[in-house]
Chain length 338, copies 2
Amino acid sequence: MLKTEFEIIENFFATSDLDFEQKGVDLGIGDDAALIRVPDGHNLSISTDILVEGRHFPIDAEADQIAKRALSVNLSDLAAMAAKPFCFTLGLVLPEPTEAWLSKFSAGLGEIARKFQIRLVGGDLSEGPMTIAIQVHGINPIGAALRRDGAKIGDQVFVTGSLGDGAIGLLCLEGKSHLDSSFQLASNPSRPCLDYFEKAYYQPTPRIDFSIHCRDYITSAIDISDGLRGDLQHMVKASGVGARLDVESIPVSEFAKRCLNLENLYKAALFGGDDYELCITVSKDRCAEFVAAAGQSKTKVTCIGEIVEGEGVELISLAQDAKPIDGESYRHFSDLQS
Amino acid sequence: MLKTEFEIIENFFATSDLDFEQKGVDLGIGDDAALIRVPDGHNLSISTDILVEGRHFPIDAEADQIAKRALSVNLSDLAAMAAKPFCFTLGLVLPEPTEAWLSKFSAGLGEIARKFQIRLVGGDLSEGPMTIAIQVHGINPIGAALRRDGAKIGDQVFVTGSLGDGAIGLLCLEGKSHLDSSFQLASNPSRPCLDYFEKAYYQPTPRIDFSIHCRDYITSAIDISDGLRGDLQHMVKASGVGARLDVESIPVSEFAKRCLNLENLYKAALFGGDDYELCITVSKDRCAEFVAAAGQSKTKVTCIGEIVEGEGVELISLAQDAKPIDGESYRHFSDLQS
């Protein structure tokens, strides 16, 4: 039987995988606030992402999957800043907490927390519709954080990993997508395909090691949460430039190629969102060094375009028979009226 | 018409009352993370409170009232640490944002942010059941933060302001309370009474100036969010001591005396919660200096008991005809089973 908030914290959140020793944390869970110390000469990076059931994860999602996704998407924001993970807080709203649910949630959260060495230092619990509000804190040497406003004309645009798998994952899990109704699987996916996409959706890889290792080569960075085109648009807008993308060079996974026709493949990669890869820019004369450094951090990077004069993102296809690609990156509140 | 998350941020959150210049904020709203600098020799205090519609505020609450309450209850946690407000993030989940709602919310939030000089540095917006997740950050000289584990035997227990008004406010607004069904108003309250209690509920006063000014005299502190007895129990448990409270000395407002019988008056004060006053302990030999310092910060403080050997909180009444007082401070999830 679950009695109080305090017993829940004690049993499921003050655990060795979440409440571990971390240099710089002077006071963790259990007081009105946590107390941390930021090393001299460093910035603290602060980011928050809120996940709502039925919107940011399916209603029947497993508790450990929800936890992994919630912390991973927040860590992805730290990766976009090249910040070293430090500590986080958790606001958790649950309709009906059970030991079983909390136990799985805690295990999933702990797995990611340990892996990225980010300590839970506080939070808040409440009853209500399931919502997870995580705030992550990371550390950067002052001046070393990556930002989205540093792209220069002539810089090459790179992305990490493969794009589109997150959106395909959601399609596999829910059978629906925010993309138009023609965004469908071309064939019934095999079990390995389904497992791959489900993992891509629930456990995106925050590119922390990569971005910290390669930050000196990177002029600008953003994480791809809403869709490549939309997120790149934010970057070029902040940087006062434009970008030209070669659509066929966008990296997609072998699994994605097997399950989608070409049109939907690029729709997923360009407008799908939920990938949590990084889109970055690199000065042309440092690309070779950058690619070598990315290799050292075991991260695939692909050049997909160039920063140009102007504004917005222009999509280029070299294929003779390419159809015009249309779609929208994820716009929150897009259909609402005042 | 509200188009995108980015337009909403631009119009309602990147405002001069929220996104103002603040020393130590190197990068605010608009990137993947904010970048802050904590002064050398200082801790950052981090606290988060999540508010759910229908649970932490009534369903028909006005947007500006919700905003004021949400930020004030978070600031109260910084007050309990004697931390100077620095910056905050906002996770906002809304079913149907309208210009009118957002405009009022932004104005209410900006009023409190300006008053306490706490800058909005980031956040996240989503559609869903109305939920407000705020995380506040404050600054303390290292070693100067108040904690709940410092109470010593012989220390005197003080509270700021008056207790019970928050719970009475909720009763006026909703006609219900988490206290038992006998917790009712004794008479129909006048308009000034209603206004007073509504303000007490929606705009509790975070005791920031007081706690920073008086922190050298205070051995332990906690903010009263769940009810005096329950919160004091957390403090004495963390400190490894017990407490004895003189019930009749608990300060209650003139408005509360007018509207409630004696039994309910002390029920509200002891078990009601939502007051966001501070409960603090002071070494016996420094009480006179402490009371003088509190006076300088224009804060009423009242001695209501003493720290004793043992554990738990004992309630003492000196009145000959005192009935036993019973009730429970707010226990989250108290009725839920695994």
